[in-house]
């Protein structure tokens, strides 16, 4: 039982942390451009040197 008293708050706290992180991301506009976010990984920065 004592283990539970520690583990449950820890589990909930971690979950809350994830939820807060999501809300933070939502507020910062991270979900405004999902297509762009998917494509951004492919942007080749090396082009700068070639140009």
């Amino acid at each position: 039982m004592n283990g539970l008293a520690v583990l449950i708050p820890v589990a909930l706290g971690l979950g809350m942390l994830g939820l807060l992180a999501f809300f933070w991301a939502l507020k910062r506009g991270q979900f405004e451009d999902l297509d762009g976010a998917a494509a951004r990984i492919l942007i080749d920065d090396e082009d700068d040197k070639a140009a």
Binding site: M1, L4, I8, A11, L12, G15, M16, G18, L19, F22, F23, L26, F31, E32, D33, L34, D35, G36, A39, R40, I41, L42, I43, D44, D45, D47, D48
Partner: protein
């Protein structure tokens, strides 16, 4: 000087949003963002690919035209964003936070529930129930808000919708679970309730995402056309004025290749006009000074000054807009399949729950026991898989269509498109490409030198005919020219290997043509005509195979329509006014047909809104694109049969989903009524049926092939 600005050293940054319709991949994003790197005063640029926009943070010294020029150097056409078309509020965003809360709470409560199912007892179970309640009740109150508000709105109008049974089920289940928790009972239903909300919210988010996505695509197209005109001031200065700010009396300078932004009379100059967008008439009309020209017509030949006589709501466009408002009743009367299903579903579910309660009471069970079982029935029948059945299928299908270049504005459009059995096609711009293309016969008549000179001359002009010619001759190498000059309304002339060459207006020609003169050689006449879209024949054959009878409905003159009618083998109605087109659709609808309208012009607007479903090419007028349910990109007319096929397959899958979802209920409800359903069984049944429905919908991934 007591100007309050410039007090701080850091210059205030301005931000400008430019619409860049040509952007579609990571490479483009990189190029667009880097395009501003060389510009001093620009601090940052960030692309939004979904909205096809780039937001530039810059100092006040940097002007919009500089930014557009930088983009043009990188090879991207851009437009300043038209403010009143700025992105409509997203339907997804308000749902994301409830979805996240439901997911968080569902996972944590499920964790506690699993330990209860695996045998936690006594004070541990009570503690876990209390913890579940602590997480669950606020989460249900927050995540359920979209459903509660919608259900309340429906109830206060004395109607019902899918959200009413959901809200009743959720509220009762939460109440019962709280009671059980407080009295130390065996079973609490927080996990099932939260899972239900999670799945339903996921369905809503998908549905909204589809609408947002298609709207972003269509908006990008709409924003391309900057409605406005260069207006000549009294002192001779020329300035850009948006269409809505034009007032009668202003003088617009309209270059060749531009569309008029308002009605007016020609003050100086003369030119030929393409009025096909407005009337469907394809042959250009010559207009002299003093003649009346209408908004939406395309100036083909020479720059002219037009004195505005009517602008904004007073133009001839307003008539069409009024017709369009009156149309579209068929669509507003259409009831989406999910709502139709819920109308049948809700009374059945509530009757079953009430019968269960009554049955157990009569059988002698206590009130508490009977209530628990009745609420179990409500929870088990809550339309969890039903909530996913329609949106998931439609999202997958519209994603497939979007990859094939067809944008679906909303899910209801797919439902309506699936029922189509008649198609009416506009001629100019829909069956045909709607732009003059050089006649292949007159191009093959040119020898290599002539083609090279023609290409070189054509690339020096922005006249629509020159551009069409340059496109058609792009396989050739351009000749080297000296002393190129363009005279508006006359053509382009230059020197080639010591001889004078020119691409100019023909001295006499019927229809649209341009003359190529090279030194002493005989003058070549290159004729232009609007041609059928590629694959038009195949598309019509496929429509026929789908059981859809197609006819032409055009505003063009009978001779031009007869020509296309002969080529396609379709019957046709010519010289139809916008009201005639709407009337033709109303007659077919009255005869019990479901009509698909394919059109592009302003004159098709009322017909597009009146038809059961409508599709417009991406090259269509703003009005056409806005009124249509589907917009297809590219030249191929195969988008029509492809869209219909995908819509029919989607509806087939939606119906399968209903059968699967209701089949699960048919199995689970007797168990629930008999009192055998525990929270564990409810959770398993609910998630299994939802997963099956999703898996079935994913089969539509390749639906647009």
């Amino acid at each position: 000087m007591n100007a309050p600005a410039r007090l701080d050293d850091a210059l205030p940054l301005e931000s400008t949003v430019l619409v860049v319709p040509g952007m579609h991949c990571a490479g483009c994003m990189g190029k667009v963002e880097r395009a501003f790197a060389g510009l001093s005063g620009v601090h940052s640029a960030r692309v939004n690919l979904t909205a096809r926009q780039v937001r530039v943070e810059h100092e006040a010294s940097v002007r919009e035209p500089d930014l557009m020029a930088a983009l043009a150097d990188a090879g991207f056409a851009s437009q300043p964003r038209v403010e009143d078309l700025s992105a409509p509020p997203s339907a997804v965003k308000p749902l994301l936070a409830p979805l996240a809360v439901a997911a968080f709470a569902c996972m944590n409560v499920m964790l506690l529930s699993v330990s209860i199912w695996s045998g936690a007892e006594g004070s541990t179970r009570d503690l876990f129930h209390w913890l579940s309640a602590l997480i669950g009740v606020p989460a249900i109150a927050y995540a359920g808000r979209p459903f509660f508000t919608s259900a309340w709105a429906a109830l206060s109008k004395r109607s019902t919708n899918m959200d009413v049974p959901i809200s009743i089920g959720v509220t009762l289940a939460t109440g019962l679970s709280l009671y059980e928790t407080a009295t130390g009972g065996d079973e609490a239903w927080f996990d099932g309730t939260l899972m239900l909300l999670l799945f339903l919210l996921a369905g809503r988010v998908l549905d909204a995402m589809m609408r947002d996505r298609a709207r972003a695509g269509v908006d990008a197209l709409l924003r391309q056309a900057a409605p406005g005109a260069m207006v000549v001031g009294k002192d001779g200065s020329v300035e850009w004025i948006a269409a809505r700010d034009l007032v009668p009396g202003m003088v617009m300078r309209v270059a060749a290749g531009e569309r008029l932004a308002a009605d007016g009379t020609i003050a100086t100059g003369q030119s030929r006009f393409d009025r096909s967008l407005l009337t469907g008439e394809s042959a250009p009309v010559t207009m002299l000074a003093g003649d009346t020209v209408h908004a939406g017509t395309l100036n083909l030949e020479a720059p002219i000054d037009v004195k505005v006589t009517a602008a904004g709501l007073d133009t001839s466009l307003a008539e069409i807009a009024r017709l369009m408002e009156a149309a579209g009743q068929v669509r507003s009367r259409y009831v989406r399949i999910a709502d139709r299903a819920s109308r049948l579903y809700a009374p059945v579910v509530h009757t079953l729950a009430a019968l269960t309660l009554a049955g157990w009471l009569i059988a002698g069970a206590g009130l508490h026991h009977s209530l628990v079982i009745a609420i179990a029935v409500l929870i088990i029948t809550c339309p969890c898989a039903l909530g996913l059945a329609v949106p998931v299928a439609q999202v997958v299908a519209s994603g497939a269509l979007m990859r094939a270049g067809i944008m679906v504005k909303d899910g209801a459009a797919l439902e309506r498109l699936a029922t189509i059995d008649r198609a009416l096609l506009d001629k100019t711009g829909t069956l045909t490409l709607g732009r003059p293309l050089p006649d292949p016969a007159s191009l093959t008549a040119l020898d290599a030198d002539e083609a090279a000179v023609a290409l070189a001359l054509a690339t020096h002009s922005r006249h629509p005919l020159s551009r069409a010619l340059a496109d058609a001759l792009s396989d050739h190498r351009a000749a080297e020219l000296q002393d190129v000059s363009e005279e508006a309304g006359r053509g382009v002339s230059a020197t080639w290997q010591g001889q004078p060459v020119a691409l100019r207006r023909p001295d006499s020609a019927s229809g649209i043509a341009t003359a190529l003169a090279i030194g002493a050689r005989p003058v070549r006449l290159i004729t232009f005509a609007d041609r059928l879209r590629p694959d038009a024949q195949q598309a019509l054959a496929e429509l026929k195979a789908l059981g859809i009878e197609a006819t032409i409905l055009s505003g063009d003159n009978p001779a031009a329509v007869a020509e296309v009618s002969r080529q396609t083998g379709l019957t046709a109605q010519a010289a139809a006014s916008p009201a005639d087109k709407q009337g033709a659709i109303a007659r077919l609808q009255a005869a019990g047909h479901k009509v698909l309208m394919a059109g592009d012009g302003l004159n098709d607007g009322p017909a597009l809104s009146a038809a059961d479903a409508s599709i417009a090419p991406g090259s269509a007028s703003d009005v056409g694109r806005q009124a249509a349910d589907l917009v297809f990109l590219g030249d191929s007319l195969l988008a029509l049969p492809r869209g219909v096929r995908a819509a029919r397959r989607t509806m087939a899958v939606v119906k399968q989903n209903f059968v699967l979802a209701i089949g699960y209920n048919a199995l689970a409800v007797p168990l629930a009524m008999a009192g055998y359903v525990t929270p564990l069984i409810a959770a398993i049944a609910m998630s299994t049926s939802s997963l099956i429905v999703i898996a079935n919908s994913l089969r539509l991934y390749g639906a647009a092939r």
